[in-house]
Amino acid sequence: MRLEYFQLIDRIADLDLERRTIRAEARVPQASTIFEGHFPGFPLMPGVLLVEIMAQASGWLIIGLTGFSRMPFLAAIKDAKLRSFVTPGTSLTAAATLIHDGSGFARTQAEILNDGKVACNAEITFRVVAFPNPEFRAFMEKAAAAIAFPMEAIPHE
């Protein structure tokens, strides 16, 4: 997890296009300036970043389902529940299921598991649009390679 670059997913563990699910690993770093302020003497992974982990996992799922032809942008978060504290050094599993493939939008049900227990969950809506430019797509392809996104498993345009 590279908090300073907002790259919160470390590895795609499983992408199942038929079942429209994804599972990803996200390891919270032991040290970060974020924990100096959140909170002094009681470091916690901020809830908004936990939501972002779920969004990024969901986003990779949508990218996979669209054959890397479209980019999901976070649009709405519904019923987000932060059920337990997440501390530095924790290894998390983010899981998401596509629950609706709309025209220009998609919705997922996502959760984060900490040691097998649900630490947080939410229903997340994305606007799904064409990549704004080739550079952006190239950046995402590079990011995909860095997290073992199974490019060979997805349909191509």
Binding site: A75, A76, H100, G102, S103, G104, T125
Partner: protein
């Protein structure tokens, strides 16, 4: 038509917190009811689920942007319901 409208109006009322009695067949979703594009995603989600369809919002938006259609053709509720009925009929045909 009437049942489609009732379903759509109830979805809009619940999703967008708009009094049900103010939602009429002649209401324009944006101009009259003030539903913005983000709220309309929630409406579209609920309509897609309720009718088992996928409203082609991107196609409609493109047609409007290119001047091939007016927003009234798709977003006045009576017209929206007619489009929904067509999509349902096409699905079951």
């Amino acid at each position: 038509m009437s049942s489609t409208f009732d379903t759509v109006a109830n979805i809009i009322a619940e999703t967008c917190d708009i009094p049900r009695e103010t939602i009429k067949p002649e209401s324009h979703a944006t101009d009259d009811l003030g539903i913005d594009s983000l709220d309309f995603l929630d409406v579209a989600f609920a309509i897609d689920k309720a009718f088992g369809i996928k409203m082609p919002l991107e196609q409609w938006t493109q047609e409007v942007n290119e001047g091939k259609a007016t927003t009234e053709q798709y977003f006045v509720l009576s017209n929206l319901c007619a489009r929904i009925d067509e999509l349902v009929a096409a699905k079951t045909a």
